[in-house]
Symmetry: C2
Subunit: 434 residues, 2 copies
Amino acid sequence: MASKVSTAPPRGMRDILPQEVELRDLATQEILGVYRSYGFRRIETPALESLRLLASSESGENEKLIFKVLKRGEELETALASGARDLADLGLRFDLTVPLARYYAENHARLPDPLKAIQVGPVWRAERPQKGRFRQFTQCDIDTLGVKSAVAEIELILATCDALSRLQLRDLIVRINDRRLLAAIARHCGFDETRQASFFIAFDKLEKIGADGVVGELRETRHDPGAVARFEALLPALQKHELPADVLGADGGEALESLETIIRTANQDIAGAARVQLDPTLVRGMGYYTGTIFEISSPAFPSSIAGGGRYDRMVGKLLGREVPACGFSIGFERLVAILTERREAGAPLAAEARAAARRIALLVDESAAADLAPALAAARALREAGDLVSLEIRRRNVGRQLDDLERHGFWGYAVCEGPGAPSVKSLTRTRERR
Amino acid sequence: MASKVSTAPPRGMRDILPQEVELRDLATQEILGVYRSYGFRRIETPALESLRLLASSESGENEKLIFKVLKRGEELETALASGARDLADLGLRFDLTVPLARYYAENHARLPDPLKAIQVGPVWRAERPQKGRFRQFTQCDIDTLGVKSAVAEIELILATCDALSRLQLRDLIVRINDRRLLAAIARHCGFDETRQASFFIAFDKLEKIGADGVVGELRETRHDPGAVARFEALLPALQKHELPADVLGADGGEALESLETIIRTANQDIAGAARVQLDPTLVRGMGYYTGTIFEISSPAFPSSIAGGGRYDRMVGKLLGREVPACGFSIGFERLVAILTERREAGAPLAAEARAAARRIALLVDESAAADLAPALAAARALREAGDLVSLEIRRRNVGRQLDDLERHGFWGYAVCEGPGAPSVKSLTRTRERR
């Protein structure tokens, strides 16, 4: 090695320490337990997808954030020699929805119909790094493919709220809307139908830049001034979650009816753990949504914890026949940040208490390898009783070693000297006695 | 989308269906349970590492198989404009050992000393795809950093054998050797000390190309003819796992003593689940090993299931002070192939029986969304009793739907019509009655 290599992880990415991994694993297990109980099953796709697939997915901004993988061997030589700029053929996935659509189109004949899929895994986005935002992060999605009925939405909402409740998140608010309702609003105001996407993009910024900001952006992007004025007049009602009756056409009316069914049915079943409510200002960023959209937040924490919606046309584009699809994605890093904050405030998860086994250090001498049998037997016996047992070499300064063990979450220790079962002592009590 | 996008996963990578994911998850949980009981704790590093780190890791062939990630933004423009070929700055990790060394060097102050780490995760190698070999695959490693004593080797061997035994792999053979013993053999024969790596590379091929092949390669790569002849004369003894006394120098003698301690102690504790034995012909491919090396195989299956060894110098190169390190890696894809084969032969895992919950479909009408409350209540009650319950839309051809459900692993079903708890029926018994 010529010069010293940096040991920092790549920019915007991070190493996860054992204590945080343990919290993440517990949260994942709780969520998976709930999702499985609803009949969802885990699937896996590769981290890499073809750039062609990723770039044709109507995924908005995400398509600009792809980590691209260089071609290899002859293909790279050819690309370089031709001076062309298509040096990459694969990209790291930026979400789990586009890979799921490809997976379903490829494997549908061998999959259950409908497919109720769980995906938990990392995704990558080359975003400018900032606090709480990483270039590799975990998503935790459930999706139902093959169900047109609102039964799919209801199950997704219930399962996601149940999973978050299991992690002791309280007073959840599920805001729900429908892209067809948004389209009806756009039509009612008189926006150009061919520029609906641009209207949605501006409207989506309402929380960030306020009503004036949105109206300003609509004017700047040269939408019809009359349409913008009508929208400006309508906005206060929408922000109060009201939908004047004359706004809806036939499509909008159908969407509203479906939303009302979902809201009523879900609220009845959730019974207090969460509240589902119509929010006609909810837009969400992705271009591929076709119907219901939803987001979950908790008043105790800013920004949403989970989001999703219906995307009935994505699979069809790959498969050649339409397959209705709907999904809900938990922002896992956001969730872990909340759980960490709460743990630091002294309120650990119920699951942490359930999972807690005694972590015990069996101290042996450096030279003990030749006569380790009694220590190994003692370790086996403790493990069979449910303890986590680690053989540790006894240091010269045992007092400090015990402090270190306690700091790193060990419950107790025992010193192995000669035959016979060593006696296990609590580290806290030992410290208090010293 | 201009033309149809392929739905196949990238070359050499694969989609994993629910049934296989379930087997993988079970195997992972069993292994993690054992590893945790030995005091190991899971850590995580990003999938991407800097190319500088990966390329300076003495990882032999693996360094040639890196998936490289294109630079982004201005950096890419600069690289392209300068006509340089350093278009990439990051690479997908090809193993979990190099990232672990970087992780330890970066985070050691916040980590337990010693660190006993578990890593389970995907790695990527751009190998020519072939049967059973993938370009993305999972590794499952345990490593102990900070322990010089053979206690580390003993714990790694016991934990790995226990984990594989838990998955009902029987008659495990742990072949063990020491790089210092191999060095002593090279020295005894008279090979050039500066070309030891090349001697190891040829010797490593013994199983693949036989004694004649190895001797041939040593001649072709122009090692000293006298050394090659002495080695040729020694080989039959080595293949019988014998080590003539005169071969070992002081270093070799120390290594042999350490190996004998490990073998005796581990065999005594394992008590029949596995057998540890000296194999002076075991070499292993990586350049970074410094002491003990080991591999596990099972007579029922060709090729090894797990491998590892001691690499006392890797962390030191990054950190500036030596940190002894030793690890054992389970080839997870190999293991899953064995478990799948066995399941198909009608011998499922004990863990599968333990984990088996009843998967039940509650059939509701397409139009039922508005009146789903009784079905949702029934589903909740069954879930609380431990069943996995999926709401499914009733199809016109219910007989065929029930067949499909059974084929995809459902245990039973119930039809939800009106209020009152629906009665759950076994799918098998329903089929038998038809």
